[in-house]
Amino acid sequence: MMGMGRIIRSGERVALSHYHLDAEQWSAMLSAPGATLPLISCWADDARAYVLLLEGDRPLLTSTAVEERRYLAPSSRFAGAEWGERVAYDLYGVEAMDAHGNGASALDEGGWTSTWPLSSRPGPAAGGLRPLAGSHLLRPEQTGLSGPLELSFEVRKGKVRSVEVCAGGAHRGVVSRLLGRTPEEAMPLVSRMTAGGFVAHPLAFARAVAQARGLVPGPGIRDVWMVLLEIERMSLHLFDMARTARGVDAELLATHCDHAREAIARACAEQGVSRRLMDMVTCDGFRDGLEIVPLAQAVHAVMQPRLAALEELHRVFASRLDGFAVLDVRLAERFAVGGVSGRASGRSMDMRRREAGMRLEALRATGSSQGDARAREGLRLAEIRDSLKLLERILGSIGLEDDEPAPDRTDEGIGVAEGARGDVWYWVRLKDGRIESLHVRDPGVSLLPVLGAMLRGYPISRVPAALGSIGISPAGIAL
């Protein structure tokens, strides 16, 4: 009996890590004996259904044809696939057969100009907004998040029992806007995918495009990308830490986080780059005129002296976060939850570790694996310390050669960047130099299936504080 990985590899290899399966192979893969490979993402369009899996720390993509707008549901095996199936139905009208879950809309709340807007055969507009189900609601403006996310709850005795998420309010139709563009034309929009990844999203996209074109960025480019990503990591960790601190009235810690984040932004601006590093990453490297060494030095100089005070204040207030919004490691493994939330629960996945040229000795962050808000907050701090070390190491050996072989050009590529809020993935297929197909997986998506478990037992009034400590971007989830 073949395991999942071998079944996938028995299909037709169409790109570096992508195998086409026929309907029979697809079905066999979904019922393969043995371990289930962790699912990173699931999506479908008019023509094919895809699952992106992790084998060790390597991506493995497989897909099958969609026939008569139907395909056998990946969620019959991968519980985390449900969100992608619902999105595929909303955008393309393709249906997952034998799907797990209730099939509620993920994005389409009514009000769009058509149903299945990305389908080759879109349906008529549904008219007004659909009524929202659920006994209790948290309105999109009440979640404490940076963007609109509709949460409805089943509640018993005033405590959350389960959660339904609808992200339609944040959906801007990004994928439809990117199809048909060259990667270079697409990049400005990719750079505004979410403020939770002004660097991570374009970087994952640039890596996917490079792989599709059969290119490997040189060590100089690679190091610049790493520096930008670490600066973003520190800045976003500080943002999420400030929010978490305010959620438990730790105003003093929040104040220090605010000042540190602003100091980083000013250091960037003084070095002639945008405060939040927007538009720095390009498809083949980085923006002209970017002087990475003085930028890294300036950010290091403003951040390093602030770390001790942040750590001290964290020690003072951390007990307020004890046992709050816990993510169990089994759930983190099952749903491939990455980023701080995954690692703070004990799932030690960090996609930076597989990057060529990574200075692994700088990545030391360990800490509690309790999976609660305290563990997440502590890990964010530890990761800021690591980011500073990484900047030092990169500055000490910037652009040092190594020999990473270039992949064959297949016009298809997968890119990943370990952003502050987790692993951001892009898959892109080019045709005649333009984007024919594209998928984006923001790390927030992997948190959706575990939210219910993390929030269970709390009154709804505590939900915004919990969400703040998890760090979710509705814009990234909804696209």
Partner: protein
């Protein structure tokens, strides 16, 4: 199971008829305010960059309150609605609801390119393309995103007129 009925985007056209009515002008001088101007911030489907900059402005690194403003968590306490994001068709309902909950004399300010005309997310199947699709936008703070300091300066300017 309770179901919440919702209004559609078009009801906004009515709701915004009075959106452009300004606050009382005092010939360019800074008005003497008895209380700070209440700001309610609403994200309606952008990349969240503008929203996060307003949140930073409301944090400890900027003197928002010294400048005469206070961020409020209930639209009923708000004088100005600071809108960020491209106004998705779904969010139009939320915008309508928040706007109606504000007291008379309210003002609407578009923060960032998205809120004005959709910025990188112009009108599409899911987006209306910023406030411009609903009402003439007279109070806008450009940028993608504007820095907190720029937002603060613009708010101070708007408070003067």
């Amino acid at each position: 199971m309770k179901a919440v009925q919702r209004t559609g985007p078009l009801s906004l056209l009515y709701a915004f008829m009075d959106a452009t009515r300004g606050r009382a002008s005092v010939n360019g001088e800074i008005p003497r305010r008895e209380r700070p101007i209440g700001l309610y911030i609403l994200e309606t489907g952008g990349c969240e960059g503008c929203f996060m900059e307003v949140e930073s402005l409301n944090g400890s690194a900027f003197a928002l309150e010294q400048a005469g403003f206070v961020c409020v968590s209930d639209p009923a306490d708000a004088d100005w609605l600071l809108l960020t994001g491209a106004v998705t068709r779904v969010c139009a309902e939320m915008l309508d609801r928040v706007w109606r909950a504000m007291p008379p004399g309210r003002s609407l300010i578009a923060v960032g390119a998205c809120a004005v005309d959709g910025g990188p997310f112009p009108a599409g199947y899911a987006t209306l393309g910023g406030l411009q699709a609903l009402t003439p936008v007279r109070r806008a703070i450009p940028g993608c995103p504007p820095a907190p300091q720029e937002i603060l300066h613009a708010l101070e300017e708007l408070a003067r007129v």
